[in-house]
């Protein structure tokens, strides 16, 4: 025989506490209408007298300046000191991307043994990107980041919303990469006499 008490669900919400004033409905509704209407009329008055009223940004002509520092806006490719991409075209970002919008062509540079594989084309389709930031997390080279500013998204043709490598590299170029180049601490070399 079990002597446990029956389970009682814990109440973690508050009961609404309303006095007669709230219950009478009319006063609270009137308060709401007054606030909304007041702001509307004030903005309307400013508008009619030629000043800017509401805080709404007239996107895309106007872009708001107060994005949070961690807003995932637009991708950038970080650069090595010589201005070439830090990216090694490993395709980790393209593989992890849930929207499959990153496409990379890799090329071989025999003259740079520290960085022999580099992207010859690196493109992101902003018509399908969901701005999840997984590409940034997946990158082993700190080669792709997202900055808070948004890309120039509006367009009339979704086929033309690919961001190409030149823009990814030149929009806010960043060189303070977490993974230094060339890599520090090289050891002995085999085969050297």
């Amino acid at each position: 025989m079990s002597s446990r008490k029956p389970y009682v669900r814990k109440r973690y919400w508050n009961e609404p506490e309303m006095g007669w004033y709230e219950r009478s409905y009319f006063f609270e509704i009137w308060r709401g209408i007054r606030i909304t209407g007041g702001v509307f009329l004030a903005n309307m008055w400013k508008w009619m007298t030629g000043r800017k009223g509401a805080l709404t940004a007239y996107y895309p002509e106007e872009i708001r300046a107060d994005y949070a520092a961690h807003n995932r806006g637009k991708h950038i490719l970080t650069q090595r000191p010589d201005g070439r991409p830090q990216c090694v075209a490993c395709n980790m970002c393209a593989t992890v991307c849930p929207a499959q919008v990153i496409e990379i062509d890799a090329a071989f540079d025999p003259d740079d043994p520290e960085h022999p594989k580099y992207p010859s084309r690196f493109e992101i389709d902003y018509s399908r990107c969901v701005f999840c930031g997984l590409c940034v997390e997946a990158c082993p080279e700190d080669a792709i980041r997202m900055v808070k500013e948004t890309p120039d998204l509006p367009g009339f043709d979704r086929g033309r919303m690919w961001l190409k490598q030149d823009e990814l590299l030149n929009w806010q170029p960043k060189q303070d990469v977490a993974k230094p180049y060339p890599a520090a601490g090289a050891g002995r070399t085999r085969g050297a006499p």
């Binding site: 090694v88 395709n91 496409e103 062509d105 043994p113 493109e123 082993p140 050891g187 085999r190 085969g191």
Partner: protein, 477 residues
């Protein structure tokens, strides 16, 4: 038949077997790098350590079975030592998987996750080495990634017999190097070492940085390079990874070709020609039916061909030995009565400098299906005479000047060629990577190939085309 105990389970073994062979045969996986079923036993990677009761740890690949031995492949001791061996193997390994073409199908990666999973314990900087050593015009060697398993050197000594690779110096400064005067570039089987290498040390130049392997899928196929008919895998992009912005040709082109193991024909190897099939299949294609060089719709061209066939009194056919069994059968069934004189045409002649024959795989006839074609049709050049009024040429490689001038020509070809425009009727055909079928090799072994890519709109499958040509022409002539 000695009986041995694998992890407590009694299994039967043959006297000449090693413990590793018995274990793999009985579904007990023992990891290994340097051992390979078709090469001699080197026993240098130490990865296949197992524990034998009363005898301690030893490598399974070099341990003959003896009756009643009790082998443990997964004891705590074995696990601990495997971990230590992986630490040791990766001591100077660069782990640059991000730029390594083997990543995704790398034995070292797989074993690391299965048996080790820990970062390197070493505090010393890694020993560096040559990153891109030019082994031949086909293969690059990354000495940093090499784990010195010696599969590649054993392959050149035991299988291809070119003796082209050796090892120089000792300890952590030893390197795989080509032997002087034995260039690997002249070994027609050299690319097999790229597949054999358990890590990404040997890299095919063709495939270098072309694609990550997880974007690709393999379709079973048959190499048409010679009458051996080695079974191969054609690797091409998975549809879910098709590129949308980059060059669209990536979606429908061959990324690489690897052998498909087949004990009846080629074992686990193929020759370098089989790796270069893109050179044959990715020539400019013919995709437009034509009447004397004038582009016409498919139906019109088929009608014209049927009229020519219906009107001919002494027709001759030249049958392609690149046709599949199904296509050759279809020709025989549907057009065999009209074309009483049907001769096998040799589409592809050996190229200059190409190896003609050896005792491993390469055969002198450089066409895939001569065996089946010979069964159904006559060999040798047809006897043209004044009455010859129609010649049907199926496939490339025939000199049109041998055809008597009064004869009409129906030409079926897959590639762009000047002859296409000279034929009275030209019909474009699909190629091997666009259809399914079978080839019969010179030993009579039948192997199948499957389609990898879609074919063009006006491109026809020969099997269906012959059926369409059989019906009498519609309307009046």
């Amino acid at each position: 038949m000695p009986e041995i105990f694998l992890n407590g389970q009694a299994v039967q073994a043959r006297e000449d077997q090693t413990v590793l062979q018995v274990a793999l045969e009985n579904g007990v996986f023992v990891p290994y790098f340097c051992w390979h079923p078709h090469l001699s036993t080197a026993g240098n990677c130490r990865m296949c350590l197992v524990e034998v009761e009363g005898r301690g740890l030893d490598i399974a690949c070099n341990m003959p079975v003896s009756a009643g031995m009790k082998v443990f492949t997964d004891s705590d001791d074995v696990k601990a030592h495997r971990k230590a061996i992986l630490q040791f193997i990766t001591l100077n390994h660069p782990v640059d998987c991000g730029i390594c073409d083997k990543a995704g199908e790398c034995t070292l990666q797989d074993y690391h996750y299965a048996y080790n999973g820990e970062p390197s314990l070493s505090v010393d900087a890694k020993v560096r080495s040559t990153k891109y050593y030019n082994l031949s015009n086909r293969i690059l060697l990354d000495n940093e990634r090499c784990i010195l398993c010696l599969r590649c050197t054993r392959f050149t000594h035991e299988i291809s017999k070119s003796m082209a690779l050796g090892i120089e110096r000792r300890g952590d400064v030893s390197n795989i190097r080509p032997v002087e005067d034995r260039p690997l570039g002249e070994d027609p089987y050299s690319d097999n070492i790229v597949d054999l290498c358990p890590v990404g040390a040997l890299q095919s130049r063709q495939f270098l940085y072309k694609s990550r392997v997880w974007y690709l899928k393999a379709t079973p196929s048959v190499c048409p390079g010679c009458e051996r008919g080695c079974t191969i895998q054609v690797w091409h992009r998975k549809p879910e990874w098709f590129v949308k912005s980059l060059d669209q040709r990536q979606n429908t082109s061959i990324a690489r070709i690897t052998p498909l193991e087949n004990p009846a024909v080629n074992g686990p190897w193929i020759c370098n020609k089989g790796r270069d099939l893109a050179r044959i299949f990715e020539r400019v294609r013919a995709d437009q039916p034509m009447l004397k060089g004038r582009p016409v719709p498919v139906a019109e061209a088929i009608d014209a061909a049927r009229r020519l066939i219906g009107a001919a009194r002494h027709p001759v056919a030249l049958v392609s030995n690149w046709g599949s069994n199904e296509e050759l059968d279809s020709f025989k069934r549907h057009l065999g009565e009209v074309f009483v004189h049907a001769h096998v045409k040799t589409d592809w002649q050996p190229e200059e400098g190409e190896r003609l024959e050896d005792d491993l795989l390469i055969r002198p006839d450089k066409n895939p299906n001569t065996a089946k074609a010979r069964e159904l049709f006559d060999m040798g050049e047809p006897n043209y005479h004044d009455g010859t009024d129609l010649v049907l040429v199926w496939g490339e490689g025939y000199d049109f000047s041998r055809i008597p001038p009064q004869a009409k020509i129906i030409f079926l070809n897959s590639y762009l060629a000047p002859e296409n425009g000279h034929a009275d009727v030209f019909l474009p055909l699909s190629i091997q990577t666009e259809r399914a079928g079978h080839y019969t090799n010179f030993q009579g072994v039948v192997s199948k190939f499957e389609p990898c890519f879609p074919k063009g709109e006006a491109v026809l499958d020969a099997e269906a085309l012959f059926k369409a040509l059989e019906a009498p022409p519609r309307g009046h002539t």
